[in-house]
Symmetry: C2
Subunit: 190 residues, 2 copies
């Protein structure tokens, strides 16, 4: 069953280590790993938001290789996953496509404590309600505060088991969060 | 709370696309991403099993950079995570260290259907029972059949939501599986 969930990996506006708003560079494995997560969990589209033209061109070349070049033959599973990826210059383009006429719900993810207004259970209900939802992940040190304020919800962070340490890569966070929102309810099985 | 769970990322013996047993090469982000998962979830040690000496040397250099070089200053969170990483030439070294005298339980992960004898719920109970458990992940096309037969358990695969497609990267699979085994029971909260 496909969901009405869309995912966006945001390279702008995000913050750097010092908290300044920047446009970050792409990481090759962000493209592959998150596309494969999206395909596995039935996410409708994977938007990579990248305002820098040269960076977008790089991604297009990579997609070309996996979709029409040797990569297609070498590993068709990669191709299948990367079909979901769309490179867009700004988040507004992703919002427009995800909403199909109306604005989708925007759910931001954020590793810091104290900003969340949506639990994983509530998120799971929203995502399974049929409404169009766009789930945002920030690269670098996370989504810019201004963007967080524009979102309808901020999802609670993944808690560490030992202490406050929860420094996961965006790839790992996306895997865990998508599994919690869309994965089978494995804890209910006998 | 730390667990008695140890994790091993296996580069030998694994299989290639054609099903032949090979030693695979390291992927830089496997080291970082999985170390950060281990630190976040309180896993005791992250073994990287790599029989090729040159490859082990490469990893040692990378660890040196993050632990004593500029990386230490630039990003102490990385250092904190990579402290858990041990490069070992064979799985038997990892088994010995994880067991502290007795053999730890070996749980293999495997994406293909039909081989599992351990559900996620059962795995969660085992991991929280206090027994030493070594959780194995295969690189390339997965753990070699011979190694699978030597394990006490094979954990059930992560199911795709749409169809049979479940081609996650080993990084994503590790994130999701560790979260299911050790993560907080977010589904029980009110």
């Amino acid at each position: 069953m496909e969901s009405n969930l869309y995912l966006a990996l945001v390279h702008y506006p995000v913050i750097n280590k010092e908290g300044r708003v920047i446009a970050s560079s792409i990481t090759n494995l962000d493209l592959h790993d998150i596309a494969r997560i999206c395909r596995t969990y039935g996410i409708r589209r994977y938007f990579v938001v990248q305002p820098l033209r040269d960076q977008r061109k790089l991604i297009e070349e990579l997609l070309e290789y996996w979709q029409n070049g040797y990569g297609r033959v070498y590993n068709p599973d990669r191709r299948e996953a990367l079909k979901l990826l769309r490179v867009v210059p700004s988040l507004s383009v992703a919002i427009e496509e995800a909403g199909k006429g109306e604005r989708p719900l925007l759910i931001a993810t954020e590793a810091r404590l104290g900003m969340a207004n949506l639990s994983f259970q509530e998120g799971r209900e929203l995502v399974n309600s049929g409404r169009s939802v766009l789930l945002l992940f920030g690269t670098a040190w996370g989504l810019a505060p201004k963007l967080l304020r524009e979102c309808d919800y901020i999802l609670e962070p993944i808690k560490g088991r030992v202490d406050e340490y929860n420094h996961l890569s965006v790839r790992s966070a996306a895997a865990i969060i998508v599994d919690r929102l869309l994965g089978e309810p494995w804890w209910q099985r006998i």
